[in-house]
Symmetry: C2
């Protein structure tokens, strides 16, 4: 890999995508972080994404406005109740597609990444999807990523000219604990990341949504305390 | 096919997508037209799309704002010169990807169609891509459509639950002349459609861009006059 090669890294401001960016940087890529403002009620994530991009040395951070609210249908973008106080085991065993699923979200996000890769001449896209903790999200599974990579090879100028895009999903089979350990090795400042689905106005995690529960339990297993802010 | 089934139809306001909508209606679908405001300089197309949707009996017309300008890189969204006065033969033989290519556009448009299909429970998407006139567009070819259909089956709740989305591209192998003939049979009012890449402020076609040249030549072969407005 040419050490000056550019990679697009989807960056949400959460824990997983921060570790993914650190991995892309460790692999020697010049990184272009890509985030979305899509009517999510946890918009505090975007501030976190900017802080993470800066701290991990992304060369650029592109934020795209997209309006998913026109589609409704998700607890993250509509006024539906979020599940609270579930155990990590209960979350993992729930094979139903979660209420927090945003329709076709990763398909849309990867499509924008594909467009950005094409105009910037990037040959690689990194996405921090994970198939373990949220088995109910169809667009977090390795077969989805493989199908998108195949599509990308047919969709663009670069693909047609024999330079197909590579989609990297380095975390896809890792546990949250493994992700945190890898991030700590790579110097990720987890205090900058935010994962809560329902933070307070100061951006502090609620401790009770699925995302907080999984994150706090994983930090506990790793044996370090989560440096992100939470309500008392 | 249940006669009350819903289909999403990508509608640009041009000739091809109008015929595609007419085909979806003829097939008995309740149609939800989907258009995009994406910084195109021929935004007059959106007025045309609304008129076409109404005239062909679409049940609903959803317009989504997306900002492709952040990516630059295309004559349709940036200030690059458009090719003019080329013959249809020259356009068809030009295997280079045209300047008017918008990066990953159909991938992004189909991703939104997928999201809308999922939240509305639609099992079908229609897109008026055509591989004949514009051989240089990678995302207008049948293999691209097939790859997107495969992706869709892995990306969504419906796909995972055994109701994969069907992507219809009925025009993909038709000549422009065949498309116009089919549209006339189905009662499409081509006077409502707009194809020009560089219309004047009144929405009249320039007669000189690739799109006008192909359209006017095809109407001539069909032997009817194009009812859309053009500059003198």
């Amino acid at each position: 890999m040419d050490s000056s090669s550019a990679a697009i890294v989807l960056l949400s401001g959460g824990l997983d995508s921060a570790v993914t960016l650190a991995i892309a940087r460790r692999d020697g890529f010049r990184t272009i972080a890509l985030s979305f403002r899509y009517g999510q009620r946890h918009a505090i994530e975007l501030d976190a994404a900017q802080a993470v991009a800066r701290s991990l040395g992304a060369s650029e951070h592109v934020i795209v406005d997209i309006d998913l609210r026109v589609f409704g249908g998700s607890a993250l973008t509509a006024d539906l109740p979020l599940p609270k106080d579930r155990s990590p085991a209960a979350i993992a065993q729930d094979s139903a597609i979660p209420l927090t699923y945003v329709p076709a979200r990763n398909t849309i996000f990867l499509s924008y990444a594909l467009a950005l890769a094409e105009v910037r001449g990037a040959g690689d896209v990194f996405i921090g999807v994970n198939a373990i903790d949220y088995s109910g999200y169809p667009d977090c599974r390795p077969e989805f990523i493989a199908a998108f990579e195949k599509l990308a090879g047919l969709a663009t100028r670069a693909g047609v000219e024999g330079r197909p895009l590579k989609i990297h999903a380095p975390l896809v089979h890792w546990s949250k604990e493994q992700i945190i350990r890898r991030g700590l090795e790579l110097g990720v400042d987890f205090g900058l990341t935010r994962s809560c689905y329902d933070p307070d106005l100061a951006g502090r995690g609620c401790r009770r949504c699925d995302s907080c529960r999984l994150r706090l339990a994983a930090f506990e297993r790793v044996g370090v305390s989560d440096p992100a802010p939470y309500v008392e």
